[in-house]
């Protein structure tokens, strides 16, 4: 507990404390400055897009990995974790290699908002896949066979039988991805740049404020991010539980 305090709790308390150094007004002024609002908005919208896209593709990838048979499946399966293992700065460089100014296919999204979304897609890819996969493996296929024998088409079986069973896992994975996305920094450094009002994510806003010695603003936006992450985790946890109950 002492270790946890020294490394994590006391420093986080310091952030909270310093953000209110100039009173509630100071806090509010810091987080409602146009630059801060633009950064927070970009972060939230980009994260939301990322959660939806990776929610769909993550489920699809999990489905293909569990239900499909093709050569190299186990290799693909272990590569899913690569974004977790790869340092975030390398992740950014990686995307820049294909989608940057020197792109061999002529697609250049560097320093645009598309780049922000792509980087976040990359780093949060494994969450939904890894949440859905075990549930799909455990899923009893008898239900699906029963539905099929009663004349349900494949789409109906998926929508009425499989999807409801997967929903809690998709939501849980999506929640983790969301929390990760709103705080992401390393992968954005090289590909998104740090253009205020355009590609400056909230984490970059904090970083700039620290660099220019504006500690109160940095701490205030940090508190907003922290609160957002915690609230999101709670909401997604609650949704996931509710979906679980609904199924029973």
């Amino acid at each position: 507990m002492a270790y946890l305090s020294i490394v994590a709790l006391i420093p986080l308390a310091a952030v909270l404390f310093r953000s209110f150094e100039n009173g509630a007004d100071g806090f509010w002024n810091a987080v409602s400055s146009p630059e801060a609002v633009a950064a927070l908005k970009l972060t939230l919208i980009a994260s939301l897009i990322v959660v939806i896209v990776n929610g769909v593709f993550g489920t699809l990838i999990a489905w293909v990995l569990v239900r499909d048979e093709f050569p190299g499946r186990s290799v693909v399966n272990s590569l899913i974790d690569l974004p977790f293992a790869l340092p975030t700065i390398v992740a950014g460089l990686t995307l820049l290699a294909l989608y940057g100014p020197d792109s061999p296919v002529g697609i250049n999204v560097a320093y645009t908002r598309v780049a922000v979304v792509m980087a976040l897609l990359f780093v949060t890819l494994p969450f939904v896949v890894r949440a859905v996969q075990p549930v799909l493996l455990e899923l009893d296929r008898e239900m699906e066979q029963a539905a099929e024998s009663l004349g349900a088409g494949r789409a109906t079986v998926f929508r009425r039988i499989v999807l409801p069973n997967l929903t809690p896992a998709i939501i849980a994975g999506g929640g983790l991805a969301f929390a990760r996305a709103i705080g992401e920094f390393g992968s954005l450094v090289l590909i998104a740049g740090n253009l205020p009002f355009k590609t400056q994510a909230a984490s970059f806003f904090i970083f700039s404020q620290v660099e220019s010695d504006n500690i109160v603003a940095a701490a205030a936006v940090s508190v907003v991010l922290l609160a957002a992450a915690l609230v999101l985790l709670l909401i997604f946890g609650w949704l996931s539980k509710r979906a679980l109950r609904h199924e029973e």
Binding site: Y3, L4, V7, A8, I10, P11, L12, A14, V15, F17, F57, L60, I61, W63, V64, F70, V76, S78, L79, D81, L82, P83, F84, A85, L86, P87, T88, I89, V90, L93, T94, L95, A97, L98, Y99, P104, M118, F122, L125, L176, A179, I182, G183, E184, F185, G186, V189, L190, A202, S203, F204, I206, F207, V210, I215, A219, S222, L225, L226, A229
Partner: protein, 265 residues
């Protein structure tokens, strides 16, 4: 049947565009000017120092977090005390915190000018921020939860029967831990250690805030990649990135070797 191939194509296509092709291209770019140029780029004094510093981060942060992780997992699973649920929740906190916020948080406690304890440490002649101790703290912070998270389920799974048997036969708490508990949870702990190492190797944001980025002094391998890239030394950036990517692949391999064993146990 056609829908099956369509799904496979969509899933693999998405992975290739987002993951496969970009990673392959990094390797391609690094060796663009030949293996010799890439080798020369990662053996410059600055590059060597950066990798050495990353190694220091790992060698300090991983053992400390492993010891803490096992102790915390034991406390959460085996003991009943007030605040147990709170500890369980707080351990996950670093996952929900942006790396930049981690850096800022450490700055506000240990920084010389802005920190609560910074001046005291400075009076003792210890500089934490913009120096190695601060970077180690940042690394410890972000990689804190892994061992705890991986050990708790295994600890729940094995139950207490064997430990009780050992205690009945006269083993002390230490003997019980080292001869009964630790061997039973070793794969869970090992998996946690692998994840901790991967995170410690790759941390960028938190370290970036507290390091001061002095080339050749407080520059880790990830900061080195950024620095090289910003200075238009693409071969240097890609070559160092490839080294880090190879380390990530080794980590991935270790994860895959350990995981099935954990499942068998």
């Amino acid at each position: 049947m056609r829908s099956k191939y369509l799904l496979r194509f969509l899933a693999l296509g998405y992975l290739a565009l987002l993951l496969g092709i970009p990673v392959a291209l990094v390797f391609w770019n690094a060796f663009q000017d030949g293996i010799g140029a890439a080798w020369a780029a990662v053996t410059t004094p600055e590059a060597q120092h950066a990798f050495y510093l990353t190694f220091v981060m790992v060698i300090v942060a991983v053992p400390l977090n492993t010891i803490f992780g096992v102790l915390a997992a034991l406390a959460i699973v085996r003991q009943r005390f007030r605040g147990r649920a709170l500890l369980n929740a707080l351990v996950d906190l670093p996952f929900a915190v942006s790396p930049v916020v981690v850096g800022l948080a450490l700055l506000l406690v240990y920084g010389r000018r802005d920190g609560w304890l910074g001046q005291w440490f400075a009076d003792q002649g210890v500089q934490i921020i913009f120096s190695t101790p601060g970077m180690i703290l940042a690394t410890m912070f972000v990689s804190l939860p892994f061992v705890v998270r991986e050990t708790i389920p295994v600890l729940r799974e094995i139950g207490t029967e064997q430990e009780q048997a050992a205690a009945t036969l006269g083993a002390g708490p230490f003997q019980t831990f080292f001869r009964v508990t630790l061997p039973a949870i070793r794969w869970g702990v090992a998996y946690g250690v692998v994840l901790t190492t991967a995170r410690a190797l790759g941390e960028f944001g938190a370290v970036s805030v507290v390091s001061g980025k002095l080339s050749g002094q407080t520059e880790t391998a990830t900061l080195y990649v950024e620095n090289r890239f910003q200075r238009f030394d693409e071969t240097g950036a890609y070559a160092a990135a490839v080294v880090l990517a190879l380390l990530a692949l080794v980590t991935l391999l270790a994860m895959n070797v350990i995981k099935p064993k954990e499942a068998q146990a």
